[in-house]
Amino acid sequence: MSVQYVGLTDINGPLVALDGVKGAAYDEIAKIRLDDGSERIGRVVQMEGEKVILQVFEGTNGISLKNTRTIFSGKPLEIPLSPEILGRVFNGAGKPIDGLGDVFPEKMGDVNGRALNPYSRDYPQNYIHTGVSSIDALMTLIRGQKLPIFSGSGMLHNKLAVQIVKQAKITGEGAKDFGVVFAAMGVQNDVADYFRRSFEDTGAIERVCMFLNLSSDPIIERLLTPLCALTAAEYLAFEKNMHILVIMTDMTSYCEALREFSSSKGEIPGRKGYPGYLYSNLAAIYERAGIVKGSSGSVTQIPILTMPNDDITHPIPDLTAYITEGQIVFDRELDRKGIYPGVSVLLSLSRLMKDGIGEGFTRTDHSAVSNQLFAAYARVQDARSLASVIGEDELSEADRAYMKFGKLFEEHFLNQGFDENRTLDETLDLGWDLLCTLPRNELDRIDEKLLEEKYNPERAMKFM
């Protein structure tokens, strides 16, 4: 018979305090039984002498100082794992909510995870084909990468995420062992529903494991959602050798939940009120992507976050981009022009791309084309800002060519349909066609031999 502690000494937001506790361990899970028979789960977040502070996942509504009995479990939070979690729906704390009953566990997984030894990692080098030109050509997604989407409220990031899931294709062996873990944090009910319906429509639902914490659910549970999702992903990838794509939306809600929790704990705030450990906390999530030696699976993450006020220097996108291996940034202006996906090419980047493209991976001319497209599109911005001052008519001939290139690039290369799945060849050839609209001597990132082979002004005619 385990010891039960009757009553509490303090309740503050999601935190409750108990006194006189003996033998509790830091970070362990406790069950709080209310007099009405309901049960809540709490985690030890601070201990001093015999005083213990618990964070209650389901919130403290209805808890009084007298109506509880608390039992310490002696274990960290664990979720049941088995290959059958694919196709299932869980809440943010890992409890099934699809009415199909409990998961029969093959093992229990500690949601906190542990840091992966850098020596045990394999450097990610194989690309994932998404069928989206801007991503495949310019910010190639690599297996084992963490590549977030930075968006703003009202833009079409969810649509892009669904398109990626729908079209994502892994080349080479293991291609069929592909699965998706989806974590929703603080999203509206209809957004979660949109994802569920899209997965059903595309038939992917069998290979999707969903963790849903909606915007009305308690915030402490939101802090657990990514941990549960990644524990499931790591299990499927490293023990069941699957390629797992983890989509997490919306990381901004997660960070706000963390801020709320931190302030109720009375911690000293850092920038914009977020706790000083926001970087470490986000790193503990993002770093759980990767490939482990001795397993053929991989965890690839696409976290989605909405930049408050479209501000990329806000702490959430800023710290995220310092941890992740690149970012895909949405641009409000392109979005308004009706270009989908409205990816801001110059702000976006894939750090792992350079080692995963070219000969043996994609196509030998891939890096030359993408470098030149980037450089040319950067020149477009210069020409546009100049044109806004002196007028388009006054521009030099080269600048006018760039203005035209910019427009065509946005309309034909960036812009593509939701159901349009472009092959890599189509994408790169389209890139060449666009580059051929520019004078040959402007293409200074491509060596002569390749230009000789590919450059042909007639290719530009298709845009006339």
């Binding site: 601070q46 002498g49 995870g113 990692r121 503990a284 310092y322 450089a375 950067a378």
Partner: protein
Amino acid sequence: MENTIYSINGPVVKAANTKDFSMLEMVYVGERRLIGEVIGVADDFTTIQVYENTAGLKIGEPIFGTGAPVCATLGPGIISNIFDGIERPLRDMVKDNGAFVAEGSHLFALDEEKQFDVTVTVKKGDRLVGGDVYCTTPETPLITHKCMLPPDMSGEVTFAAENGKYRVNDVIIRLKTADGEEKELTMVQRWAIKKARPCAGRLPSTRPLITGQRVIDTLIPIAKGGAAAIPGGFGTGKTVTQHQIAKWCDADIIVYIGCGERGNEMTQVLEEFGELIDPKSNRPLTDRTVLIANTSNMPVAAREASIYTGITLAEYYRDMGYHIAIMADSTSRWAEALREISGRLEEMPAEEGFPAYLPSRLSEFYERAGYVKNLNGTEGSVTIIGAVSPQGSDFSEPVTQNTKRFVRCFWALDKSLAYARHYPAIDWNSSYSEYVEDLADFYNEISPDYTALRQEIANILQEEAKLMEIVKLIGADVLPDDQKLTIETARVVRVGFLQQNANHPDDTYVPLPKQRLMMKVISVLYHKSLDALKTGVVLSDIFSLGLFEKATKMKYDIPNSRLELFDGLISEINEKIDALNAGV
């Protein structure tokens, strides 16, 4: 009475009613003996930061003192290894704990079983003082490890082992010290990581650390024994720049500290440096590299230690007479670790929540760089290159500003250059090096016109910056021809010279003579064109010769091994422009 845990808050643990511990003492916390360090001693509480995850610790578990500060283990076997922030060997940890890092591991830093070929360099009766070498062993094909007397020890050799094969913990010599005590010395010594190793004296820094990167070597050079900061927002290429320097610079040993950065990056360094062959020695780069990895999801307290562990290892090899370059990526994460611990201690925060002692910690670290005369008479150097990750790319934040005060070389990475994929994205306008004058003699020995050419290139860029202000307002077409020429020449400097392709076999590393010849070509082209304009040649005729495109691509067209081709390019420029002049 046994010392026990009284409170736990993240990595900060307190023990009540004890006066057993001293400041900065290393302690073992709990039944699992997690490694920690005493960071505060008061009448009622002793405060300890724990270098490992504290989940599962209980109130009342014991705390064991060790009586010594946190130390680095120094001896053969460090090079080509990978350690965590407190020098535990990550490679061996895999054997014990599998792919994930577990708590409470107490592995010895070095391989205790490996047999080293040892040459003993002293004999019975020799008198030795601190720093003297008593044996050597080839640690890697590139590095001869020299075991030295700890700096604070001296005495007479009473026993010296024969040359032969020994393990690191075997006794090599015995020493009778002044107070009559006899000490046994193995190949291993320990040194407190937060204490700088002493040297006989500092020497001026007059030799550059040659990196093969044009914008660094030529425009903004760093001296051996100097300190540089690389600040830059995310995606501006801090890590790539550090990788390039680590790969190609002419230091003997590289200490690469991944402090709070990505795990995949450390793996990349491990894999890439193992495959890359150093052209000078024909050996893989790992033969001269040590990695210290505290990835961003490893415990935050060990992040602070990783920086000190790295520099202690560097100083140890410096004492043997080597030149060491330290890459610290990123010092901002270290500063944030300080902030996090400080917050948990409820200290009064200064700017942006950072503790008030941030500047003093930074200066202590950067001051450990230097070109020195060692206790044993050899010369060695430690060069520090620290990346800074300013929040929101704002260089006015405390870490960047404070770092700027303690380094003499500042390579500011610029977002707009990175967006245009101009790499290395070092902004020539806001970067600076205070070593330029100290190093002038060295460069002029390569060729007497080296510094003059450098100045000329700098002037062209300066001039361009001024002209671009006008162009932004009224367009380039209204400029007079000579100014248009300056702008076009500056473009050649930017695209052809400053921009460097890390993935191109020749361009990734460019020796100084080629750097000079490239500047020479640009200078000849500029002056020749300027003279032609004066004789009445039209600018568009000069441009149509294709010489500017040729100059832009010379970095690819002329291989590093065939520098004589530059003569051809220069005479082509002369001839073609002379022909135009003749036509006027």
